[in-house]
Amino acid sequence: MQRSRTLYDKVVDAHCVSSFDDEGRQVLLYVDRTVLNEYTSPQAFSGLREAGRAVWRPDAALGVVDHVNPTAPLRVREMADAGGQRQTSYFAENCRDFGIELFDVLHPMQGIEHVVMPELGRVMPGMVVAAGDSHTTTYGAFGALGFGIGTSDIEHYLATQTVIYRRLKSMRVEVDGTLQSGATPKDVVMSLIREIGAAGATGYAIEFCGTAIEAMSVEGRMTICNMAVECGARGALIAPDNKVFDYLEPRVGLDHDLWCRAVAHWRTLKSDPDADWDRRVEIPAASIEPMVTWGTSPDQALPISGVVPDPADETDLARRRDLERSLTYMGLQPGTRLEDVAIDRAFIGSCTNARIEDLRAAAAIVKGRHVAGGVRAMVVPGSSAVKRQAEREGLDRIFIEAGFEWRQSGCSMCLAMNDDVLAPGERCASSTNRNFEGRQGSGGRTHLMSPVMVAAAALCGRLADSRQFVPLS
């Protein structure tokens, strides 16, 4: 009888071209698809050019400009920033010369790569997708194994359709019960990261399961899998179900017979009931509150009702120094109530939290209210398609009337490679995924939270509990 396997085992097993050892621990892994961006791909293409190598399957790759483009309302092809211009023009040259489809900055489907791939139905259950961006874990929401790779491995992938891959340990994260009103998928994953630490899942692939995950939309699941990399997971999976199939059916455009065969196969993609796990974590859904980060690592997070911790309470000397450094950088005093922390900027965007459901939820709080004086607030939709959908629903008017800027799509101030940047010392409520030092601009201070919590902070001018805002209509 075959041994019991996890969903992760099944996906990896199905993609093993060959093994480098007797136990199959390190394998040559076949990769179904990739998505390329303008800033991590250039040296990979240069490597191919220098060696005179072709791309193995150009139709399995999609190029999207997202990291360096401005998000100003008027779009132009030429970038004012010389580096960004050089990267986007070389990217266009590479996609053209190697036969890869490209969504440039003027393309109607341009957007953040991890928003674009799913909305086009390019990610299907059981796939392996390796791409030059750490948030490729997003695709686990479809029961696909997505993981980030560096530029050398992009080159290896492009030339061979494979990557050299070491099998990960397995972690099962079970979220049972019902989320409180006001608690979102972002709060689920932030609670996990806080619980297990920024390296808690390093060396692991996570499978999320439990009734709260089953009840969650596909977009909510993407948020959770996306941010699983912030606790070190290099793969986050959720077994595909009818919600996933309903999401995909209109997007993949298969004829009826093939669709039925695909779904029949996809229904086998789940962990065996008696599969072994290297680690199990349980997070009761009812215990999860709206979360905010207070430090410079994603695990430095607390429920909004909390206070800034005191490094003096930390007995480990190295950890105490890290805490002191975080608080100094963030300009926070121990014991300060998080709800008393004033903000300068509010940002709704990123591959974690700028899909249509995120924008709807934030708009529901914002509608009929106004951003606090002195706060600059921005909405950067996850893709051009999300932007159009939001405009069809009138969400753009709601945000604009409340004092938000309504911008074009891109990674924008999630990593501030374009001109959307915090000034030194500015404090930002942000729906993004990393609060590292300098992430949103040198000296900038980032507090991570859900889009509805960013909306609440923008309205209050300080970190705030979104649950105090009842939609006005």
Partner: protein, 212 residues
């Protein structure tokens, strides 16, 4: 890739936990299309103050550590962004090996592809090696990859490493070339894989035209 056999050099301590790749290589150095010029970017906001002057409190700016070839690092080093620029920059600064307890997965692979040896030591040996790296009179080490041994003037540290990674680092292999030598196996696998899943090819590029 430069082979790693036996390397001698100075070790410098960077004990903070969760040093991310944004800190190792800030975003303003990510606008190139080649690997050039990244030496200036490594730890830029730690090495230089706001006026662009050397920050003398940073360890790599101090006499006794300026020519470090090894960094002794805190847990979860290299977390965050996948940017390989972080590893290219470390190599351009002259860093040949890292000594720590845990590394982020993508960063660890990026090190492997660039001849940067990321050594995993047992946590109970870290205090000793941090003490050596912190003392400029004792921070010269020799790392012998074949023997899996770090040697200091007054002691040594054995380490484990994946045998395949070890062989690849010692040989300085071009992994793309090695994999392509087996391209027939990839072709055969691909044929069967796609034949078993006909929906994959049929759905190629589907719905790529805008709906509005």
């Amino acid at each position: 890739m430069e082979p790693f056999t036996i390397v001698e050099g100075i070790a410098a301590p960077l004990p903070a936990a969760n040093v991310d790749t944004d800190v190792i290589m800030p975003k303003k150095f990510l606008k190139g299309v080649d690997r050039a010029g990244l030496r200036d970017g490594v730890f830029h906001d730690l090495r230089f103050d706001e006026a662009g002057q050397l920050n003398n409190t940073f360890i790599l700016n101090q006499a006794g550590w300026a020519d470090a070839a090894f960094l002794v690092v805190g847990p979860n080093f290299g977390c965050g962004s996948s940017r390989e620029h972080a590893v290219w920059g470390l190599r351009q600064l002259g860093i040949r090996a890292l000594i720590g307890t845990t590394y982020a997965g993508i960063f660890f692979d990026n090190c492997a592809r660039n001849g940067l040896l990321a050594i995993t030591l047992e946590p109970n040996r870290m205090a000793e090696i941090f003490a050596l790296a912190t003392d400029s009179a004792r921070n010269r080490l020799s790392i012998d990859l074949a023997a899996q041994l770090i040697t200091a003037a007054d002691g040594s540290f054995a380490f484990d490493i994946d045998p395949l990674l070890k062989a690849s680092l010692i040989a300085g292999l071009d992994t793309v070339g090695v994999t392509l030598a087996n391209s027939h196996a990839i072709r055969a696998f691909e044929r069967n894989y796609l034949a078993d899943r006909p929906w994959l090819a049929a759905a190629q590029g589907a719905a790529s035209t805008p709906s509005s």
